[in-house]
């Protein structure tokens, strides 16, 4: 009976009325400005590196390095493919006169801003853990649940709000990084290149940034969902934050430990660091395969949470 959009408006209002939401946003902005400031200081004090100092020389050196790697690698290996890609891209830049993003240039710094996603993951875990659990801990769930809105709608209005918050805080990161980079670093035009195995394509620089952000968002959504599900199952925000943070920290070690096994590619741990698909390929899986595995796990988590939340009595 009740408009689902109204429920989301309510959740958003409650989130915005909480002090913690604003504190997190301010911390993010301060972090961006101060770390970019440190980067600027660092780049301006760096010793002039020994070696080639024109762009062409550097690209040529890069080609030589990867040629050497290519000749040593087995042609079916990932290293070989990676070397070929790097050679093609560097050659294209030389031919077309397209400069790479120099360290300390505007777009280079913008791309490093994706590293702040570790902070965003933390904030989204905090919000997702509390959004339902707080209603139980404070007892407000009673007045919320006795309305003409089914429990399914209540639950999913909160989940959608967590997703909206993730997008909003990622946009905040994008905007504050843009502003900080414009203030601190010289603007340089840059064209991003990709290699699909046969040819090189050119992309506007902003696509490069958005791609890094989108890939990083996968991790945010997975961690946010885990926190939300645990918060809904145990109705305690502290527990949800704790367990999800543990998951988050355990990801890399577990992934390293298990990567030698064939079945490791079917477990969630191998895929939550989705951004790895952007750097040197880590495991022998495609981004699409990663997304399918992640989706499968998310569906299982949702099914667990949904059945539990619908069935259990509210006795707080």
């Amino acid at each position: 009976m009740v408009n689902f959009v109204n429920l989301i408006r309510n959740e958003w209002m409650k989130l915005m009325q909480r002090k913690s939401t604003w504190i997190m946003s301010i911390i993010l902005i301060i972090a961006v400005f101060s770390i970019f400031g440190v980067l600027k200081w660092d780049y301006s004090h760096r010793e002039e590196s020994v070696g080639p100092n024109t762009t062409e020389q550097r690209l040529q050196q890069q080609i030589n390095t990867y040629e050497a790697q290519k000749s040593e690698a087995d042609p079916s290996s990932l290293d070989y493919k990676y070397a070929v890609e790097q050679i093609e891209l560097a050659q294209y830049r030389l031919d077309e006169g397209l400069a790479p993003a120099e360290v300390g240039s505007f777009w280079h710094v913008m791309n490093t801003s994706a590293n702040f996603f570790s902070l965003i993951v933390l904030f989204v875990i905090i919000v997702a853990s509390g959004i339902l659990a707080h209603e139980f801990q404070k007892g407000t769930i009673k007045l919320l649940a006795i309305r003409p809105a089914t429990r399914t709608k209540l639950l999913y209005s909160k989940y959608v709000t967590v997703l909206l918050f993730s997008v909003a805080i990622a946009l905040l990161l994008l905007v504050s990084s843009l502003v900080a980079s414009l203030i601190y670093f010289p603007y340089d035009s840059y064209t991003h290149l990709t290699w699909n195995g046969e040819s090189v394509s050119e992309w506007p620089a902003i696509f490069w940034i958005l791609q890094s952000y989108l890939y990083a968002m996968v991790n945010v959504v997975v961690m946010g969902t885990i926190a939300f599900v645990i918060g809904a199952l145990f109705r305690s925000s502290g527990l949800a934050i704790g367990i999800t943070m543990f998951f988050s920290f355990a990801t890399l070690p577990v992934m390293m430990m298990l990567r030698k096994y064939e079945w490791a590619k079917y477990i969630l741990f191998s895929h939550v660091e989705f951004s790895m698909h952007l750097s040197q390929p880590f495991v022998d899986v495609t981004p699409l395969f990663s997304l399918m595995v992640i989706l499968m796990y998310l569906v299982i988590f949702h099914a667990l949470m949904y059945t539990s939340f619908k069935k259990r009595d509210i006795a707080v």
Binding site: V2, N10, M13, K14, K19, K138, R147, P148, A149
Partner: protein
Amino acid sequence: MAKSVVQLKGLRKDIKSKTIIHDLDLDLYEGEVFGFLGPNGAGKTTTIRMMVGLMKPTAGNVIIGGTSLLENYEKTISQVGAIVENPELYDYMSGYKNLIHFSRMHKGITKERIQEVIDQVGLTSRIGEKVKTYSLGMRQRLGLAQALLHKPKFLILDEPTNGLDPAGIREFRTYLRKIAQEEGVSILVSSHLLSEIELMCDRVGIIQKGKLIDIRTVKEETEKTKWTFTVKQPIQAKDVLEQAFEGVEIEANEQSISLSISQDEVPEYNKVLVEQGVLVYGIANTKSTLEDEFLKVTGGEQVG
């Protein structure tokens, strides 16, 4: 009697193979204030939770305004307004934002309606302040406001006068009676203050160990109860009254007389006695109060 708004049909709740509520049957009527009494742990709150869908009954059904809560949840619950235990509101938001929040969850609640309810519960001057600055009594008023927003047919109030001062309680009582009578709302009030239930309610149900053991109508002021007049001359008083009022049975004791009359008649009797020169030292109502009856029924257990 008016038509019934709420019907509990064979409502039962088992928790871990223990029966908490035993096949409860109850009808609540339009315009009626029903009191729900019982010692701690008797199952009052569990019953209320089942009536608002927070808990699923093991067996039985809750019918409100003709529709079943279990089969047609959204339609049925839209006719209910409730405070379950403490009015726990979002204390980091203002009272007004809290009401906006709940109004969005019902259909067709206008800003004017919200303002009307705020005025009715007497929160007009503080509604813009954060709920964390409110006293318990103010939270109780805000709790009542959120329960009334959508003009429910059935109002459930769990311990509603908790935290209200005496003036507030009196005001609240008048207000409840008013909405019950004028808007035909059926109201269920649970309270541990028996004297209050007595003043507020038309009928009282006593629940013990998950069973509804007694339902009784609260005595009206026109009903005859036993009154004791402490007088100097009991024999003379008896004669005077027997002459003045026909068919009254009067029992004369050493220091007093006892008779069964309604509260309305007391002043007249007193007037006659005084006019005839009988010295009246005191008049007391010796009807057994609901509390006595309640304690009798529940065997004197501690009342929550």
